[in-house]
Symmetry: C2
């Protein structure tokens, strides 16, 4: 073997039922190329072409723009095969071949070069195409599109420099759509576009091969773009992965009324219903459907005669068969792009279909029933981050409200917000904690930050596969798309629907499940969990090892938690019971007590109230474990805040406002997060701990006397030194045992601690000697490990995310390298001192899928999260368990990768 023969191929041909690649070669061919090869091999009609391997990208990047010497001959050979198959030649003035060039990495990412279509056209071949097609208008339009795309994407001329003359030409011609422009205006536009490129200091290459190599270089260059590089750094994708380049013969959906282009899903991506779903446009090219420029028609019969099924029944039937084959082959919902050229169907792409949470759940369960996949695969296929949308509220139909307009039901759910018209406004108000609905003609990738910040998205144009719809579904966010009734004023200050004007800042409500746009705020109610959802959750419970509990402070939360499948309460914050109006007065009296006896009196006034709360929670939980945390926040949180009116508070306390003011000042802290709080309160005011322990003990006895089991776990917060816990545990044990003796009752209870300080982590062995359980308070732990105040990080967090300093907000996704390392250390040290130590987590991270997976790997016993996140945690826990169990695990990982 020589060195040359060791080198693998650089170019992989596909066409006419034969392909050099297959779907297993995703790393080398990218997702798009691998699937084009796979489809070709299956005998599905795919225009012939070839894929340049990702290895070429790596050479290109490392060499500063050089290609391997073998590349050009391999490309020439593949080109020759393509020309032969299509009976056309690149640059031929009679029957010119046109190709598309597209990027295609193993994982799709932002910042990569868009498609360039119609490569091969120039001032001469355009005339040949006009003659050959018998349609000069089509040929000129194709050339115009090439100039526009190539100018923008390859030559870097700003997009709007082309859009402005195009809009002017349509206005001059008095037409609405590009496709209505005649030959004359198109010819003028071609000249103008060439001039625009020239004025931009660039040259449009007339030689087709120069066009081709320019486009190939642009794809590879885009791999190194700042945006793509940042994205890879954030996601931990190696730069050496590289992108492939797909070069494919053009087919045209814009050759007349017998041509069309469209997008199809093998099942409804919104509902999961098992029927062909999609949209198409007659006489349109390429991105017209996805870009949302014209509102497309449905593929399936809709009764008004515009559907593909009605207009091209043969093509429809062929497409349905292809869809069926692809879904059975890939065993998952497929998202296809197709073009009909003069009645002939061509498939341009297939990939795993993005879907709503509802569709993910329904299709997964149905595919198990159909025997397509097994249960582990089904569980692995559902995105836990998206699942939560299923649990989101929907419009309360019993409320009265005014439907302003109806658009397409693009992404389910319901949400209200103040209307804004730009992504920046949405981001700004969203960050300020406002609820906003982003209203746009159509959206583009530049709007992502605003879509993220918005509660819901409304667009005037575009279909259910438009950018807005696809992105919103991915985000699990409510979206109404293509609502043609709304008219957005040019100055972006309002939109009108008939006579009604909705101004910036007015409230509207969207129902993404029906497409309704509603004036004002409408009451919502939680979604009913469907049968498939319960089925998936049962499978999850079978697979997972981690327990899942909920954070719940009230009986209502406790009941909701059980409804969502929680196995206990991992965190019951007693201070939330103190903020009630009646109670806060008692708390304030406690703070203002001039004597120990007055303090004790105020505290004793709180006891029956706490006892009642605890009893109700014990009843709701019916024997499931309940972890109650002692009072945690600094006392000044119970006093009025700056700007509040002090006089009524002072009057209620029987002190002067100046006395009240001076107490507020005395209790104020420079860094309250690091101040007099947590067990430091219980150490300095043991009477508070005594009262809370007594209330817990009494409530447990009361409920046990009713025949309801009680599993009480008392949790001491903010322990940094083992002796803190020892002292507090002694008080708790003494008081509860006193109560049990008084009642003549027996009660098994445990005492443990929050681990939320780095010192607790590194001395966890000492602490475990005093603790029967640990519960990681990852919110506070993240704050102290990073030295980062959650309340203050807003000033620089975005910069940190943009600069890829933090891969994600560490308060949302657990930082494994730092916080995680301390957690692992604490688990290890803790279990070394007490092998049966129970270990859980009760920070916000307990409901974050990646963090749940970490908790599984770190050997925790359970996670605890807000009730609405419980199903997410159950799913994430199941996936984590599957991920480590061999084949099933690998399958899950592959499924998740393919779905990216």
């Amino acid at each position: 073997m020589t060195a040359a023969s060791e080198r693998s191929k650089l170019v992989y041909f596909f066409g006419a039922g034969q392909a050099e690649g297959d779907r297993g070669m995703r790393d080398r061919l990218g997702g798009k190329g691998a699937n084009l090869a796979e489809m070709t091999g299956m005998g599905i009609p795919v225009p012939p072409g070839f894929t340049i391997s990702t290895e070429v990208c790596t050479v290109f990047m490392e060499s500063g723009g050089q290609y391997p010497a073998e590349l050009r001959p391999e490309v020439d050979e593949a080109f020759a095969r393509m020309e032969q198959l299509l009976g056309r030649r690149f640059g031929d003035e009679e029957r010119p071949l046109m190709v598309s060039v597209r990027s295609g990495a193993a994982v799709s990412m932002p910042g990569m070069m868009d498609t360039v279509l119609n490569l091969g056209l120039n001032d001469r071949t355009v005339e040949g195409l006009a003659r050959d097609s018998g349609n000069p208008r089509f040929a000129l339009d194709a050339y115009r599109r090439l100039l526009q795309m190539y100018g923008d994407v390859v030559l870097g001329i700003p997009h709007d420099r082309f859009e402005r003359p195009l809009a002017a030409a349509k206005e001059a011609a008095g037409v609405e759509h590009d496709s209505q422009l005649g030959e004359g205006p198109l010819r003028a536009l071609v000249r103008e576009f060439l001039e625009i490129i020239r004025r931009g200091g660039r040259t449009f290459p007339q030689e087709p091969h120069d066009q081709l190599w320019g486009a190939i270089a642009a794809v590879f260059t885009s791999w190194g773009s700042r945006r793509a590089t940042h994205y890879r750094r954030k996601c931990g994708i190696p730069d050496t992965l590289g992108t492939a380049v797909n070069v494919q013969g053009m087919v045209f959906g814009n050759l007349g009324e017998d041509s069309a282009t469209g997008v199809a899903f093998t099942r409804d991506p919104s509902t999961g219903v098992c029927e062909l779903y999609g949209e198409y446009l007659v006489n349109a090219q390429g991105e017209d459907v996805v870009a949302g420029i014209r509102t497309p028609h449905p593929i399936r019969r809709n009764g008004d005669g515009t559907s593909l099924e009605e207009r091209m029944p043969g093509t429809f039937s062929e497409l349905a068969q292809v869809c069926d084959r692809l879904e059975r082959h890939y065993r998952d919902i497929q998202d296809l792009e197709f073009t009909v050229e003069r009645g002939r169907l061509w498939l341009l792409q297939t990939r795993t279909g993005k879907r709503s949470a509802a569709a993910a759940v329904r299709s997964a369960v149905e595919m198990v029933a159909e025997g397509l996949i097994d249960e582990a695969t089904a569980v692995g296929r559902i995105d836990p981050g998206q699942l939560q949308t299923l649990l989101h509220p929907s419009i309360d139909e019993s409320a009265s409200f005014e439907v302003l307009a109806t658009g397409l039901a693009a992404s389910p759910g319901a949400a209200s917000g103040q209307v804004v018209f730009t992504a920046d406004e949405a981001a700004e108000l969203g960050e300020a904690g406002e609820q906003v609905v982003l209203v746009r003609r159509e959206t583009s990738p530049e709007d992502i930050h605003g879509m993220t910040a918005a509660q819901a998205i409304l667009t005037a144009r575009g279909g259910t596969t438009s950018h807005a719809a696809v992105v919103a579904r991915g985000m699990g966010k409510c979206c109404v798309a293509g609502c043609k009734e709304i008219d957005i004023l040019p100055d972006g200050s309002a939109f009108s629907v008939g006579a009604v004007t909705v101004r910036k800042g007015d409230w509207i409500t969207l129902d993404g499940s029906t497409g309704r746009v509603i004036l004002g705020r409408v009451a919502t109610r939680p979604s009913e969990l469907q049968g498939e959802f319960r089925t998936v959750m049962e499978w999850c419970d079978r697979f997972r090892r981690l327990g899942v509990r909920a954070n719940a402070d009230t009986p209502h939360d406790a009941r909701q938690a059980i409804e969502f499948g929680a196995e206990g309460i991992g965190l019951c914050r007693t201070e939330h019971m103190f903020f009630d109006e009646e109670r806060i007065l008692l708390v304030r009296r406690m703070i203002f007590a001039a004597s120990n006896s007055a303090r004790r009196a105020a505290i004793d006034g709180l006891r029956p109230l706490q006892r009642g709360d605890f009893a109700d929670i014990f009843r709701a939980m019916g024997g499931r474990p309940v972890t109650i945390r002692l009072l945690d926040p600094p006392l000044h949180e119970f006093l009025p805040h700056e700007g509040d009116d002090l006089s009524p508070v002072a009057a209620g306390l029987g002190v002067s406002t100046s006395e009240l003011r001076s107490t507020i000042a005395r209790l104020a802290e420079a860094n309250p997060m690091l101040g007099h709080r947590g067990c430091r309160l219980g150490i300095t005011y043991p009477e508070i701990t005594e009262m809370q322990a007594r209330a817990m003990g009494e409530a447990a006895c009361d409920v046990a006397a009713e025949g309801v089991e009680v599993a009480l776990e008392v949790m001491v917060p903010l322990v940094g030194v083992a002796r803190e816990l020892a002292l507090q545990a002694a008080v708790i044990r003494r008081v509860i045992d006193e109560v049990l003796a008084e009642r003549g009752a027996e009660l098994g209870y445990t005492i443990g601690t929050m681990i939320e300080l780095p010192r607790a982590c590194v001395t966890a062995d000492e602490i475990a000697r005093e603790a029967q359980f640990f519960s990681f308070g990852t919110n506070d732990l993240t704050q102290t490990v990073f030295g980062l105040s959650r309340d203050d990080s807003g000033k620089f967090l975005q910069v940190y995310l943009d600069e890829a300093i933090y891969p994600a907000d560490p308060f949302a996704v657990l930082d494994e390298a730092g916080v995680g390392r301390l957690i692992r250390m604490a688990v290890e040290l803790g279990r070394s001192a007490r092998p049966d130590l129970k270990v859980g987590i009760c920070g916000e991270h307990g409901g974050d899928p990646a963090s749940v997976a970490f908790c599984h790997r770190a050997g925790l016993d359970y996670v605890s999260c807000s009730p609405f996140r419980v199903p997410v945690a159950r799913l994430a826990a199941a996936q984590a368990a599957l991920a480590e169990s061999g084949d099933a695990g690998r399958r899950v990982a592959e499924e998740r990768l393919a779905a990216r």
Copy 2:
């Protein structure tokens, strides 16, 4: 061998030149007992007696008050030997034996039982003693003292119940001192004291052996007292160590004008001058000298005929010989108690003498010269914590001031403060940050918290070995004792000196080196470092491995640091240069800049100023390394604070006050310690980092051009993620390299980071790839590891210390178990990634001796502390190095233990 014969002795006899123990048996006999045995063995006159071993204490504590069966026969046997030697019998009505009982652990500690003297007296033996001594007044006074001490110490009757009738009796008799009371009043007092004990519900045992066993039990019980237990927990002394009990035949210094009692030091404990030093009282018993009730006379000739040397020349000469022998034997300054009974000298105790820092240094150096000890021992013997007092200011004699009175120069140094009259007041004001001078008639162990809080202590009574003097010297605190001229008003509101009245809150200044009490505040100046000090420091530099640098922000600090022996600057805080009046305006302009260009203009205005500062510091340091930290504090620290007048600031900035107010509000942070500060500033405003890097580079070039070497180390603060450092280092490197290119200069510089966040510790390997050095910022690291704000901990820190939750304030003494563990981890990870990583510490802990020792053990390269702490750090570093090097190390450890 039988089990019984394996058991060690419980009782160790000493007397008449023979002893069963020696000084090597400190653990078993306690410090006092071991030394009594040693002295006896040396043939020094010691009243015979015996020591009950510490093992008995352990049995007593563990069994709840039982003694080993063998104890009583052993005590009886020792008692018999004592009676035989002294020719007296315990309880004998003719020639009664009297004994003292004293506690004595290996380490002395607060909360232990005081001495009980004169045990053996009762209603009958007192008459025998009267006859036998021929001095009924003496006998009655001895009995009165026994009742008082036994009643207080053993029976728990409050002290003042006895003091009140005693004072009344003196008033009735018209006398000042106890010793002036006649037989009649004493007989009445004896009756009254017995009645007081009875009324207190207790009985004074008339049977001498009952007295003895009661006193022994009291000693053991005091071992378990709350105060002693807390002290042990804080100091990490095991409870099983136990205390011994010393029972010793009484000798009397109060048998007339040929009797006396006193305290002597083998060298002056204040100056270290090698001459016998001490005080005594004629016709006095036991604690009279130490308690400061009467002002004693000097031992050495003082010219007025009151000295021991003049009044009892033979005894003086004998004492001087004993002192000489003891010092040569123990090879250290000895602190002795002696009694002269009818002309005969008895030694009652010897121990290592507590001394001032000056005395410690001088005596150590002189003892090396005398061949008594080697240099390692000399270095090991000096308390680093105390050393700092040597560097403290003294009175500026060129200032004009009014000397109000002169007392005894009890502890050197000079300090000013507001007068307070109780320890509680001192503690309260001291904690509030006020400077106070505690003025007391005399002090007692109950006053310790006030003495700790005070700048200086002034007493009206007591000598240079009084409680106040001894404690103040131990604390390294200025003290003037026995200032008889001052008259403290009974209501504790003021003191008067002649016609001058000094009220509570008035300022006075004390000079503890001369005994002067000065009205008002007097300027002070730093002490001149003497020859012996330099010698010791040179020895330290020879022994230590750790480098010692200083934290210095100004050229003045830098020069001072070099004066104190700093080898470089470990922390130069650039923000301190920003607070200057002229500069803060530029900083504020930077904050208020409406545009990038305005911000850059403001920042560029700061650059020449910073460049000048840096250049002056480089010049001062002459080639020694200088670590400059980038801007660290949150920007709002540069804006006016609450309550400041905003209008001038607003006018200076050219903004409205409401604009200023809103910017202040916008920049305010919930937890500034965890906010937008440190490298987060440099990441979000790279222009600040650029300016600082340019100023450093230009300053270095300027100074290098003058022929002065520059060793620049640039330090990035608050790094939690390696990429933060990578990004900032890239900016620094680019800018400095630009400057060097412009100047055509060469400069070796390094870039490193503060390690002050837990996340930095656990990801130190990643960070070390970007850092050439680490410097632990232990102030902030302690805050984040404990989740404890230094500014807010005051509310509960005292409780935490009292409850022994923290063994010490973690901001003063590095927490080894938590913070230390993370430091060790960071060092290990850091060096694993970069073996030549330089590692130092620049928090306050860098000047704390225990923390310096930890830094040595943790393998750090250097510590950096405030200039005044540099000598402390040099000494502590030397001791740490000696401690780990075999024999020398053991010797150091032993010396330190013996000195406790």
